[in-house]
């Protein structure tokens, strides 16, 4: 691999298999439960896929696709028990069987063994009203779950016009109390549906602020392994872990630039927290902000030419933007007593942030074109918002019964999802880029 493009986006072949050093659990630590879907959700039927091989099918592909689509909040999925027929080929499809049930889209498919230990899948997506196939495709992978997410992405794109984020991953942090004042912090990596959960870093000291590299593989994070906060980068596939920034005082809040060539972060070596960037190629560090107030939580604009960051230079935390060329700073948020940890959707239009309103911390979104602010959550102590790479959903941390839990909400506020965890305090979610 070319060193200079180490953190740059790379296309991951579906067949490519990750090898992992740490514990692997096929079951999900996080379970995704939809609490509010769209009232205009699209009706789809996903017929159980045919298994064209010996013995039992290795995975319920249709079940995984159904779950993906349902949890997006944008689909109503017909239960298989309600189906009048269960076609697995185009010749077996009778449109009236679906029209009578009010189904708008129908997905069928076939799974079989491929070469070696791979699986092949073929599928067709039908528009019931138009009475025709609108998408067909095939894919191969060693992991049938990944095939299912690939199909979910295809269906989502065909129906909504937006790229699906079902094949992406999440990073998050758990904290468990072990007794005698001992604690265990773990940085996890999981599929976007909570499955294939792996612990990639473990520490008895706090872990926070995970941030994905655009290659969807490396994760920068902050840990106290040396008794003070420092920035590390871990390869989430191999577990290879390196300390990259460690100065006197704070070294924290890492954020990879969109091209993966730079890291923005916070150092307080000058006396108060200031934002810096580090160029991985030239190894040059540049100070970006100069102010005696707290400057923290840098987040890159999609074009890589400016950073959004939190500062209390106006008295309370608000979000500011700094142009990386001129270093000129302008204030971005004005509504709400506090706004912090801002990040932009990939189209650059929406700023998602933690927002203090009437004494409660919510996740809110500011439309940078219209200037309007919309509060997305009704819970309190909401923080650490992270936007899905297609700009549709925001995953964030909140509290439930004195425990940290994750939840998600769509940027338009219409879909709400809970992610209860099987153990511990869960916090600091980070949604990966497209893989």
């Amino acid at each position: 691999m070319n060193k200079s493009s180490f953190y740059q986006p790379l296309l991951v072949n579906l067949i490519w298999l990750s090898c992992l050093l740490f514990s692997i659990s096929a079951k999900a630590e996080l379970v995704i439960e939809i609490t509010q879907g769209r009232d205009d959700a699209v009706s789809i039927a996903v017929v159980p896929f045919a298994w064209e091989g010996p013995g039992r099918s290795p995975e319920n592909v249709a079940g995984i696709v159904s779950a993906d689509l349902y949890r997006s909040g944008q689909f109503k999925v017909l239960p298989p028990a309600d189906m009048l027929s269960t076609p697995t080929t185009e010749a077996q499809v009778f449109y009236r069987d679906w029209k009578v049930l009010g189904v708008e889209y129908l997905l069928i498919g076939r799974l079989k063994k491929g070469q070696g230990d791979t699986y092949l899948v073929d599928f067709e997506l039908f528009d019931i009203y138009q009475q025709k196939v609108i998408r067909h495709g095939n894919a191969s992978s060693r992991k049938p779950r990944r095939l299912a997410h690939f199909i979910s992405d295809e269906v989502y794109k065909q129906v909504t016009g937006l790229r699906g984020a079902f094949s992406t991953r999440l990073a998050y942090v758990t904290k468990e109390k072990l007794g005698k004042g001992k604690e265990r912090y773990q940085l996890h990596r999981a599929d976007a549906d909570g499955y294939a959960d792996h612990v990639i870093v473990q520490s008895g000291e706090p872990i926070l602020s995970p941030a994905w590299a655009p290659n969807g593989r490396h994760i920068a994070y902050v840990a106290y392994k040396s008794g003070k906060p420092a920035i590390y980068i871990v390869d989430s596939f191999t577990g290879e872990d390196k300390k990259v920034v460690d100065y006197k005082g704070l070294s924290s809040a890492p954020a990879f630039s969109p091209d993966g060539n730079k890291l923005a972060f916070v150092l307080s070596k000058d006396g108060d927290p200031e934002i810096y960037t580090l160029d991985f190629k030239t190894k040059k560090m540049e100070r970006i902000t100069r102010h005696f107030a707290i400057d923290t939580e840098p987040s890159w604009a999609p074009d890589g030419n400016s950073l959004y960051f939190t500062s209390d230079r106006g008295g309370r935390p608000q979000i500011y933007r700094v142009d990386l060329g001129s270093k000129r700073v302008s204030r971005v948020t004005f509504q709400g007593r506090e706004n912090a940890r801002g990040s932009l959707t990939a189209d650059g239009r929406f700023l998602v942030m933690a927002h203090l309103h009437e004494g409660r911390y919510h996740i809110a979104v500011q439309d940078l074109v219209r200037g309007t602010v919309n509060i997305l959550t009704a819970t309190d102590l909401d923080e650490s918002p992270s936007i899905s790479p297609n700009g549709v959903m925001v995953i964030y941390a909140t509290q439930k019964g004195n425990r940290g839990v994750l939840a998600a909400v769509s940027v338009d506020g219409r879909v709400k999802v809970q992610l209860p965890s099987s153990r511990g305090d869960v916090r600091e979610p980070a949604w990966s880029p497209f893989l």
Binding site: L208, D246, Y247, L250, I294, D312, P317, L381, E383, S384
Partner: protein
């Protein structure tokens, strides 16, 4: 991967170690410092007497110097936590005596080092709270140096909202969590 070379890291460390701060107390604070330590030590002896009441009395004598040092230490160790208001890092008047006692102890014992651990409550974002915890730690450090401690004796580490002492989602818990702990 060689994103960072060892050479570079060493350079970073070197740059970091150059950055430091020194505060020289002016005359008025120095005077205040002396009276504070006297006040603190007299407080200590009286409270020691209270703790000693009812115990079997011990006769004997100790060396004056070490007893003065011990009482400075005892005065400092009476309280090792100071608290802060929401989103504030100014030292509250109720923390003055605690910090002055620690400053007197540090001033009398230049070899002793203290680690100031700054904390925040759970409200607000984690990284902002990390910065806030550090600002509180530094405010306490400045107070100590202004009262006679040397900046070389003090190390400040922020834990932000990561290490609460009280777990509740209410003001009573939050008030306990907005703190700087002095650890020797």
């Amino acid at each position: 991967m060689s994103i960072f070379t060892r050479k570079h890291l060493i350079a970073l460390m070197a740059a970091a170690s150059i950055a430091g701060c020194s505060t020289t107390p002016d005359d008025s604070t120095a005077t205040e410092d002396t009276s504070a330590s006297q006040e603190a030590s007299s407080e200590t002896s009286s409270s020691e007497a209270t703790y000693g009441a009812g115990d079997d009395s011990v006769s004997g004598s100790t060396q004056g110097a070490s007893s003065a040092a011990d009482s400075l230490k005892a005065a400092a160790m009476q309280s090792t936590i100071v608290y802060f208001d929401f989103d504030k890092s100014n030292i509250r008047p109720d923390a003055y005596n605690t910090l002055k006692a620690h400053a007197a102890y540090l001033s009398a014992n230049p070899a002793v080092k203290v680690r100031l651990e700054g904390h925040a409550d759970e409200r607000g974002t984690r990284e902002y709270n990390l910065a806030l915890g550090e600002r509180r730690g530094k405010a306490a450090a400045n107070y100590l140096t202004a009262n006679g401690a040397s900046s070389s004796q003090i190390d400040v580490v922020s834990y932000g909202e990561e290490r609460p002492v009280a777990e509740g989602n209410n003001e009573a818990s939050w008030a306990q969590n907005r703190r700087v702990e002095l650890k020797y």
